[in-house]
């Protein structure tokens, strides 16, 4: 449907307040009335139809399995009865929408509901609604973009009905969960919804600026269903008159709104007022230049400027990351993300392909963890379509898929996935015959990729062509071909992307070559360099280019960068003899939280001692002394953690050296940690993890709200000798007891320590734990006793 020439569709108004006026008690479940008071529900629908509504929303907003539990009715009963009530009231030409609101539970990673559980709950409603004869589906009052994604995918995969979405925003332009208007528009337009807009939130006047913003980011018809102003907190009543509502709401029409109605506080009078006040024929809307980009749920990397893609989450040639991925150590991956973000990356490449590793599971885990820890949009980097699809399914936002190439197989298998999930995609200029030596050959492949994408409905604004960098020491003339190809590909109206680091492979002082090539590539039209932004030379080269090309007004960014990373002073480098290693200095640096100093001292110690000698002879004893000070209450938790964090920089240095060598990594044994089912308070458990890791133990952290079965399974399959369970609430203690029982019944040969605010040594003994861990230090002592 083209919004410019479609008719205006009048929707209905509030349902909840109408039901309460008809006698529904406060806190009662409105959907139950579909079954118990169908005539009352129909009466409300009829009032809207006679006021002019051409789409009426069935009374099914909260009829999901979580809210229906305990109502005495099944989801299918509530939904079918709701659609039937609306159907019975609908005049000819009037359509019935299956209305779906939030599930009421928050999805992972901030909440505990899994994407699949949300999907199943929506699918259940959708199947019932479609079966009962709904004409379309509306998801409304949504504030979690990931929840909407689960719903839209369920709608597309279980019905053939049109799908509309409206979300609820605050005046700040964000939802409660922080989703911005552009992120909503890019993500849901990409997923293929039929119309998009706002409901509830605020009054029509307050929402107009958001409608204007939305218009810039999507060409879809817009839906506008605001509240009747703002509620009086004491009475809950909405103050706006139907006429005032109309006056404000009609201003949305020139912005492309084609579906118009009301939400909280609006009644049939409001719809009637809208109908009576509609202008004769709708004015053409102000078509704005469409903006585009890539996004996470909370952040957009908009087209049209130089965007750095951080390359470091890729295990190829990186022993430390390989080890972390094999051990499931997501913290290390997250630290790479944080470092790159701080260094100026706007997107992060995510590649977890490693021989012998379940790439699909690792990719899903990594993407989930990254979504909780960073707002940067992600580039999903894999050659396996199954891995790509699994990642796209749970990725909340508009991702960049890396990559397709010019082979038929790649185009046929991967492009449809990008289309379905609304992702942008990288096209590599190579095919069955390899990488063409001439720039013309590469442009030819780029054209083929553009054609294949457009045939599927993927616009060229969503294509990122990679002209490929070859090693200049092996094929010297290829550097020029890559640059030529870049210039030509730009003219196709696509984006360009290029990994630059391997240009200099095999050359001395690689950085010179890399930086020079990068600058030339930027000049040739490269928009998205894939680099390690943590290398100051690279960052500075990019910043310098931005100054010279006028993208950094006044050179402000460049100047800031140079003050953050001053050029190294040559004299200082030559001087500064390695200070003699000093155990007291190490302890002091730890206590003061000086991680850099800890690393420096350890580097110095490595000149005379082995890694293990330093760990056993210096680091651990220093940590023990810090721990003893904590026990004596000379220092407290914040200082303990500060010391642990500083020590971790030393450990990290040693780990890198050990994993780079052939020798085994360092671990004093495995410990499983989990916050038990039902509990979401995990900061205590995470404190324990940091401290245990610093004592050299490998911690398998299963997270929070972990069911007993998963703990038992992991303990058995990983042969875990020590399990730490945490619970903060009295209500979740039974769940801890159940977990211990399950471990014992399964015959797990492990010791169990428990901790958490409400636990006592007596209760720990009562539920069969081996140890009560008063605090993080105590858990390290227990680990020492059990594992040595």
């Amino acid at each position: 449907m083209n919004p410019a020439d479609s008719d205006l569709i009048l929707l209905d108004g509030g349902m909840g307040t109408m039901l309460q006026a008809a006698g529904l008690p406060l806190g009662g479940m409105p959907e139950v009335w579909n079954v118990t008071h169908p005539e009352e529900v129909q009466k409300i629908h009829r009032a809207y139809v006679s006021a002019g509504s051409r789409v009426i929303y069935a009374n099914t907003f909260g009829a999901n399995r979580f809210k229906a539990a305990g109502s005495g009715c099944s989801v299918s009963e509530l939904v079918s009865a709701g659609v039937r009530c609306a159907r019975a009231a609908a005049a000819p030409g009037c359509r019935v929408a299956l209305d779906i609101g939030p599930l009421g539970q928050l999805l992972e990673p901030l909440g505990t509901l899994s994407f699949e559980e949300a999907y199943a709950a929506f699918a259940e409603m959708l199947t019932a609604g479609a079966g009962a004869g709904a004409d379309l589906v509306v998801f409304e009052t949504m504030s979690d973009l990931q929840e909407v994604r689960a719903g839209v995918l369920a709608a597309k995969e279980t019905t053939s009905l049109p799908v509309w979405v409206t979300m609820t925003f605050e005046a700040t332009g964000r939802t409660f969960l922080g989703t911005t208007v552009p992120a909503m528009a890019l993500t849901l337009t990409g997923l293929g919804v039929d119309a998009l807009g706002f409901n509830c939130s605020l009054g029509p006047g307050e929402l107009l600026p958001l409608v204007r913003e939305l218009r810039q980011w999507t060409a879809l018809p817009l839906i506008f269903k605001p509240n009747a102003g703002l509620p009086d907190p004491a009475t809950g009543a909405y103050a706006m008159t139907p006429e005032a509502f109309r006056e404000a709401a009609l201003q949305a029409l020139p912005l492309g709104v084609r579906m118009l109605g009301g939400c909280c506080g609006s009644t049939p009078d409001f719809i009637r007022a809208l109908r009576d006040g509609l202008p004769q024929g709708i004015q053409g809307m102000d078509l704005l230049e469409a903006r585009n980009g890539l996004c996470s749920a909370r952040q957009v990397a908009e087209d049209g400027h130089l965007r750095i893609i951080g390359e470091r989450i890729n295990p190829t040639g990186k022993k430390r990351l390989q080890q972390a991925l094999r051990e499931g150590d997501l913290d290390y991956v997250l630290s790479l993300a944080a470092q790159q973000q701080e260094a100026g990356a706007e997107l992060l490449d995510v590649n977890v392909g490693l021989p012998g590793l379940d790439e699909k599971a690792a990719m899903v885990r990594t993407v989930q963890a990254l979504q909780g820890a960073t707002d940067l949009p992600l580039q999903i980097d894999s050659s396996d379509p199954e891995v790509i699809e699994a990642a796209l399914r749970i990725y909340c936002g508009k991702a960049l898929v890396n990559s397709v190439n010019g082979t038929r197989e790649s185009l046929e298998r991967i492009l449809p996935l990008c289309r379905k999930y609304g992702a942008a995609v990288v096209g590599l200029c190579l095919d069955e015959n390899g990488i063409p030596e001439s720039w013309q050959g590469r442009v030819e492949i780029a054209r083929r990729i553009v054609d294949a994408a457009e045939a599927l409905g993927i616009p060229r604004q969503d294509l990122y062509i990679d002209c490929l960098t070859l090693t200049v020491s092996a094929q010297q003339e290829q550097a020029r071909e890559t640059l030529q190809a870049l210039m030509a590909v730009r003219r196709l109206g696509v984006h360009t992307l290029l990994g630059v680091s391997n240009i200099s492979f095999g050359m001395p002082e690689r950085e010179n070559i890399t930086v020079s090539f990068l600058t030339q590539a930027l000049m040739a039209g490269l928009e998205c360099p894939i680099v390690n932004p943590g290398q100051p030379a690279i960052r500075k080269a990019i910043a310098a280019f931005q100054v010279l090309s006028g993208q950094d007004p006044g050179g402000e960014k460049y100047i800031r960068l140079c003050s953050e990373f001053p050029a190294p002073q040559q004299t200082a480098q030559a001087a500064a003899p390695a200070a003699a290693f000093d155990a007291n200095a190490l302890e002091k640096a730890m206590l003061q939280g000086q991680g850099g100093e800890v690393a420096r001292l350890i580097r110095a110690a490595l000149e005379t001692s082995s890694e293990m000698e330093i760990i056993d002879g210096q680091l651990i004893p220093a940590l023990n002394r810090v721990g003893a000070a904590y026990e004596k209450q000379q220092i407290f938790l914040p200082q303990l953690l500060r010391a642990a964090q500083a020590a971790s920089q030393g450990f990290e240095l040693l780990k890198e050296r050990l994993s780079a060598g052939a020798g085994a990594g360092l671990s004093r044994g495995k410990i499983l940690l989990a916050t038990v089912r039902g509990d979401i308070h995990d900061i205590g458990k995470n404190i324990v993890r940091v401290v245990l890791e610093n004592y050299g133990y490998t911690v398998l952290d299963l997270g929070r709200d972990v069911p007993p079965g998963k703990i038992v399974e992991t303990v058995l399959s990983e042969n875990i000798p020590l399990v730490g369970l945490s619970a903060l609430m009295t209500t979740t203690l039974p769940s801890m007891a159940e977990t211990i029982r399950a471990l014992r019944e399964a015959g797990a040969d492990c010791k169990i320590m428990v901790g958490g605010a409400v636990l006592t040594p007596e209760y720990a003994a009562e539920i069969g734990a081996d140890y009560y861990a008063r605090d993080a230090k105590a858990s390290a002592d227990i680990a020492g006793e059990v594992l040595g």
Binding site: G27, F176, L641, R642, I683, A757
Partner: protein
């Protein structure tokens, strides 16, 4: 009435962290930095609703009976009760989680400061309500989980306050609130001035069992 964060008590936060001495200069500086960060991110939101108390502590117009003996004592001689909720919002939840993956040392400080901050927002709300309803008196606030007022009542309280739609607060399947830095409570309205020292007793505290202050024969407020 709006959510107001006016002060983040360092003293409170240090108490949550178990720090009993004056903080060393480095810790004080780190607390200051985290406090400023929290202030810049937190978006306090509040809501409340007034109910008449019916027979057997039923909230009039609903089918919800306030459960437990302690609440009965707490609301004796109140004819009306106010349900209230205050949250620092998902912005704070995100900040706490994202900080955990960057620096656990900063994360614990932020967590303690955020606890102090949501207490402040809730106190401010109660002060505003007391002013709104003067000359009636507002009893001290009382939350699910205090005494024998069960945590399970959280679901009902959240439902009646419509916190999901109005504040963006969700409940997990187990009845815990997200954002975690959220407080729900009720407070009675009475014509009689409340008795002196209306602090909730230790016996009513859900943490009384493992409380390290009680073991030393002290109470947390005396710190």
């Amino acid at each position: 009435m709006e959510g107001r964060l006016t002060e983040i008590s360092l003293k409170e936060a240090l108490r949550y962290l178990g720090v009993r001495d004056a903080p060393d200069p480095q810790l004080a500086a780190a607390m200051e930095k985290c406090s400023a960060l929290l202030r810049s991110r937190a978006r306090p939101r509040i809501t409340w609703r007034q109910f008449s108390l019916g027979e057997d502590l039923r909230l009039e117009g609903t089918s919800f009976f306030l459960p437990g003996q302690d609440i009965r004592r707490h609301l004796s001689c109140c004819l009306r009760v106010i349900l209230l909720a205050a949250t620092l919002g998902m912005e704070t939840e995100l900040l706490l989680r994202q900080t955990q993956s960057r620096s656990m040392a900063d994360a614990v400080l932020l967590d303690a400061l955020a606890s102090a901050a949501v207490e402040n927002v809730t106190d401010n709300l109660c002060r505003d309500l007391a002013a709104e309803f003067a000359p009636l008196h507002l009893t001290p606030r009382y939350s699910p989980g205090y005494g024998d007022f069960p945590l399970e009542a959280q679901r009902e309280v959240c439902e009646l306050l419509n916190v999901h739609r109005l504040l963006g607060v969700s409940l997990t399947a187990g009845g815990l609130m997200i954002p975690q830095k959220t407080v729900t409570a009720l407070a009675g309205l009475t014509g009689d001035p409340p008795e002196k020292s209306p602090r909730p007793r230790c016996e009513a505290c859900p943490l009384a069992g493992g409380c390290s202050y009680r073991k030393e024969d002290r109470t947390c407020e005396s710190c």
